[in-house]
């Protein structure tokens, strides 16, 4: 009777069982090699034959490192010796070991090796020398999938920080960026400035020209602001409706005012028609500038509030102008 206990009885398999095991090893979808205690290849399954081009006669009884001279002094050679001499099992991950074995999906094209995760396990036979089992998994597909996933995640993350209408940063990105830059400025005791810009009489623009023209107007204003900023650390974000906030690290109050004036005049020079404006016939901006220089009793919110107050003053003083916050 072939009960479980008789199958698992320690090593007296019939010839048929041995044949079955060899046949199974050859059908496996992983690479299986057995190395004997002298470092010679004892068994080399069909999967490895197909991927290496090395047939059984060439492989069997040959010294592993003579067949693969590139592996001398490699980590794979080391862990095989650890397994045989000290009985220690090892894992060679794909990320830390770039394809140790010369295995190819297509032997005619040897430009790219199969990506491998390799398990090296000691094989103990009672009262016999220790052998070593090498199991090679092809992880090429998994590696490719994870790379794709990572790329998609990065794209999605970028999208999560972009204002879909104007293509500049959104409010979430602004909050994160301004908090980081403010902390950095405080640490290095360097100035940081903020400009808050608002399209004048934008409600009237929308009422007169319609919302799709309003959207187009905001896109042109956003692009105009972007065109003026030329340092990589400067950031423009859509703050709300027709309001934009510009973060200027390492910028004094004077420098920020000059830049704000450049933005104002650039937008005016675009000459976007605005017949219902109270100011003339073109789209204009009002801008408020605030600055942090010393970092006592100040905060990101205070900086934004001060820019907002300056912007309010610019509006009340007649719009289409820059006001810098004064304590």
């Amino acid at each position: 009777m072939n009960t479980l206990s008789s199958i698992c009885r320690p090593f007296s398999p019939t010839e048929l069982q041995l044949k079955a095991c060899t046949a199974a090893a050859d059908k496996l979808n992983v690479g299986i090699a057995i190395i004997d205690s002298h470092g010679c290849i004892f068994f080399w399954n069909q999967w490895l034959k197909e991927k290496s081009g090395l047939c059984c006669d060439e492989a069997s009884d040959n010294d592993f490192l003579t067949i693969f001279p590139e592996l001398k002094n490699s980590r794979l050679a080391q862990v095989i010796s650890d397994a045989i001499k000290h009985g220690l099992p090892s894992l060679l991950s794909q990320s830390l070991n770039k394809s140790p074995l010369p295995l190819y999906e297509n032997l005619a094209d040897r430009s790219q090796r199969v990506q491998q995760t390799i398990y090296v396990t000691p094989l103990e036979f009672q009262d016999e020398e220790r052998f070593c089992l090498i199991q090679v998994n092809d992880v090429s597909i998994a590696v490719k999938k994870e790379r794709l996933l990572r790329e998609q995640a990065e794209i999605l993350r970028d999208f999560a920080f972009i204002d879909s209408l104007t293509g500049v940063a959104n409010r979430r990105k602004l909050d994160e960026y301004l908090a980081d830059e403010f902390k950095r400025a405080a640490r290095s005791n360097s100035p940081i400035s903020v400009i808050m810009a608002d399209v004048d009489n934008f409600k009237q623009f929308n009422d007169f020209y319609g919302h799709s023209n309003g959207d187009f107007c905001l896109q042109r204003v956003a692009n105009a602001i972007k065109a003026i900023l030329n340092r990589p650390a400067d950031l423009v974000a859509r703050y709300g409706g027709e309001e934009f906030v510009i973060v200027l690290p390492d910028t004094s109050s004077g420098g920020a005012s000059v830049l704000a004036e450049e933005i104002r005049s650039h937008v005016e020079s675009l000459a976007i028609p605005h017949e219902s404006s109270s100011l003339g016939s073109h789209v204009t901006l009002s801008l408020g500038v605030s600055n942090a220089q010393t970092y006592v009793n100040t905060s990101v919110n205070k900086l934004l509030n001060q820019a907002d107050q300056a912007l309010y003053q610019a509006k009340t003083k007649g719009r289409n102008q820059v006001v810098t916050f004064q304590e």
Binding site: R75, Q78, D82, H86, G87, L88, P89, S90, L91, L92, S93, Q94, S95, L96, N97, T117, Y119, T121, P122, E124, V139, A142, V143, E146, L149, R150, A153
Partner: protein, 202 residues
């Protein structure tokens, strides 16, 4: 008997320091960057260690790589890092961006390999210096609370925990982790016997 004498404790520390020193060499070769490992401190903790665990591992979640080994004494060995620190190690070793969330499968495997190198080196050093042959399982990756990981892989027999602080130094970065060995009373006593034998021979 559940304590180690100062001599015994020093001997064990030496064995582990030789082990992690070898591991550091292997890892430095693997990534072409100098890594230093040392085990400055060792404690023996009794079975009811839940409180101790929460006290010494401040981070709620940990990453661990474990291997079971058996021979004259049996133990479950863990290399443990706070979850966030694991990302730093993997990032440094892989030299690429690692997402802020969980490690992906390939990164988990890389960490398993790092754990495997450290644990094998410790087992190798123990086997050499205590003249004992051990066999061991392949490494296994865990992520979760210290409590759940250590208790889930613990049997009723495991009454002792050998707790070692491990310093993982890379250029411009130092990360604290732990090596933990869970042992039964019988295996703990066997360990002490082996250490005494080792001490009597030097």
């Amino acid at each position: 008997m559940n304590k180690l004498s100062e001599m015994q404790s020093d001997a064990l520390l030496e064995i582990f320091n030789v082990g992690v020193g070898n591991a550091a060499n292997s890892m430095s070769q693997l990534i072409n960057e100098e890594i230093q490992l040392s085990v400055p401190k060792l404690q023996v903790v009794l079975k009811d260690h839940a409180e101790v665990i929460s006290a010494f591992i401040r981070s709620q979640r940990i990453c661990a790589v474990s291997q079971n080994f058996s021979g004259p004494l049996n133990a479950r060995a863990f290399l443990v890092f706070p979850e966030g620190k694991t990302h730093e190690i993997v990032r440094r070793m892989l030299g690429e961006m690692v997402s802020a969330e969980e490690l992906n499968t390939m990164e988990e495997e890389a960490l398993s390999e790092i754990g495997n190198i450290v644990l094998n080196a410790c087992i190798g050093s123990m086997s050499e210096m205590l003249q004992a042959d051990f066999s061991s399982s392949q490494p296994f990756y865990h992520l979760g609370t210290a409590n759940s990981i250590l208790t889930s892989s613990q049997t009723d027999d495991d009454q002792f925990m050998l707790l070692l602080h491990i310093d993982f130094s890379m250029p411009k970065e130092k990360i604290d982790g732990y090596l933990i060995f869970l042992l039964s009373m019988q295996s703990f006593n066997e360990l002490i016997k082996k250490i005494d034998l080792f001490l009597s021979q030097i």
